[in-house]
């Protein structure tokens, strides 16, 4: 198990290879469908000047993501005594963000994209160009994943996006995953897909 502490250096990313088991610690955010659409359309590729609120959030995200991580996850959260906590929080399917992720990696300098199911050639190319890796978390493991998300520090866009889709700023401690796409251009998903095709062709005859 390789321990990764956010912020993560370029050299550290280059030392990782597809297949490595990792445990991630540090501050990161969740972000899924609404968050990715928002970051690309309203921040990164904004047509005009940003509103004060958007500018503020853009700056905040830049600070969190520089050398950091985004987790494709829509958690179940609980609020008691005015404090939020994470109840259940496994990964969501990453491929839906394929149209956005390369731009997000490039704009923020992300080092880790965490999710499930893998991503496509655009994200793989961005991982190579900007020195980032994709980490596959354990799909369906809501409870064990939540145990590694030890503190909710803040939340952004909760009203607009709803609880599952908001950016939850969280302190991670030894969050487990497997690197399946590395910064050297290797994707386990692409390699396995070729095997699946060959086997299917044989089975169907």
């Amino acid at each position: 198990m390789i321990e990764l502490n956010i912020p993560i250096s370029e050299d550290r990313i280059l030392s990782l290879h597809a297949g490595d088991a990792v445990a991630i610690s540090g501050i990161a955010t969740t972000g899924r469908d609404a968050a990715h659409k928002y970051m690309v359309e309203r921040l990164i590729e904004a047509k005009g000047p940003l509103s004060k609120e958007d500018r503020c959030l853009y700056d905040e995200l830049k600070t969190i993501y520089r050398g950091g991580a985004i987790y494709h996850c829509g958690p179940i959260v609980r609020k008691s005594d005015e404090r939020w906590s994470i109840v259940s929080a496994g990964p969501t399917t990453s491929i839906r963000e394929e149209g956005y992720e390369d731009k997000v990696i490039a704009a923020f300098g992300l080092r880790l994209v965490i999710g499930k199911g893998g991503m496509g050639p655009r994200t793989l190319a961005a991982c190579r160009a900007h020195k980032a890796v994709y980490v596959h978390a354990i799909g369906g493991a809501g409870v064990t994943s939540a145990e590694a998300m030890v503190e909710v520090l803040d939340v952004f866009k909760m009203e607009e996006f709803g609880l599952p889709e908001a950016f939850w700023k969280i302190r991670f401690r030894l969050f487990p995953g497997i690197v399946t796409m590395d910064a050297h251009g290797r994707s386990l998903h692409a390699e396995l897909a070729e095997q699946f095709d060959e086997r299917l062709a044989r089975i169907l005859g």
Partner: protein, 300 residues
Amino acid sequence: MTCDEKNRLSGPDFSEALYSLIRRTACDLPEDVEQALKRACDHEAPNSTAQKVLSLFLENVGLARKKQIPLCQDTGLPLFFIRHPSGLSRQTIEKACADAVARATREQFLRPNAVDPVTARNSGNCVGAGIPGVYCEEGDGEALSVALMLKGGGSENVGRQYSLPDDALRAGRDPEGVRRVVLDAVRRAEGKGCAPGILGVCIGGDRGSGYLHSKHQLLRPLEDANPDPVLADLEKRILNDANRLGIGPLGLGGETTLLGVKIGALHRHPACYFVTVTYMCWECRRREIRIETDGTWRFL
């Protein structure tokens, strides 16, 4: 049926029963599914990624049950399948289901999963147009049973419907054609529906009924045998073939790609031959309760 018996649906016992059904379904994986995961874990190569992933699944299952926390953050779309005696008000049933869903969401046993597609607003209580799904069927006798399935969105996205014949897949209107398209669906799903999955398949029907009937198949226990010998054989063959694809748990490679295949059939229009596949993730969350005329209830 007397008026009092009808009212068992609007009383506090019925709401409590539905709430308990939701809570247990979200937190406690059915025994047959857990056993199938344990067998798969033993079957995978020692220290393989597949075996490690399956043991992490089982650890999550145990912890969720112990701590009474939802197994997965995606508690899915709540789908109620109800068999009721004649004379019960469906409106009352639907309202009771929606109320129980809203309460379970307030208490974090469900995630708010109802989003208005036009305004992009989340309703906040997991209730909205068409959510929860409530499907009523009139049964014989006085028994009232409620089966609940929590159907995750990631696995829902990898479901597919084929119209046969399908030239590209060389699939004709026969069991072999069905086998070919269903295996195509499994291949395309890879790990994206949280493999190892369980397939609910419907042969025939129309574009709407096909999906609903395929979901009905997912209520069947993993170890049951299809009473139709043709379908029983097809289920076995597809399961066996799918587990030779090498997709494995979460699509990271391995011997276990599916835990089960359940196939049903509906009559079709002569022009149409649909094969509809619904993919259920490894966390196949389904439970059923039976409510007696005196309002007492139990899990089946």
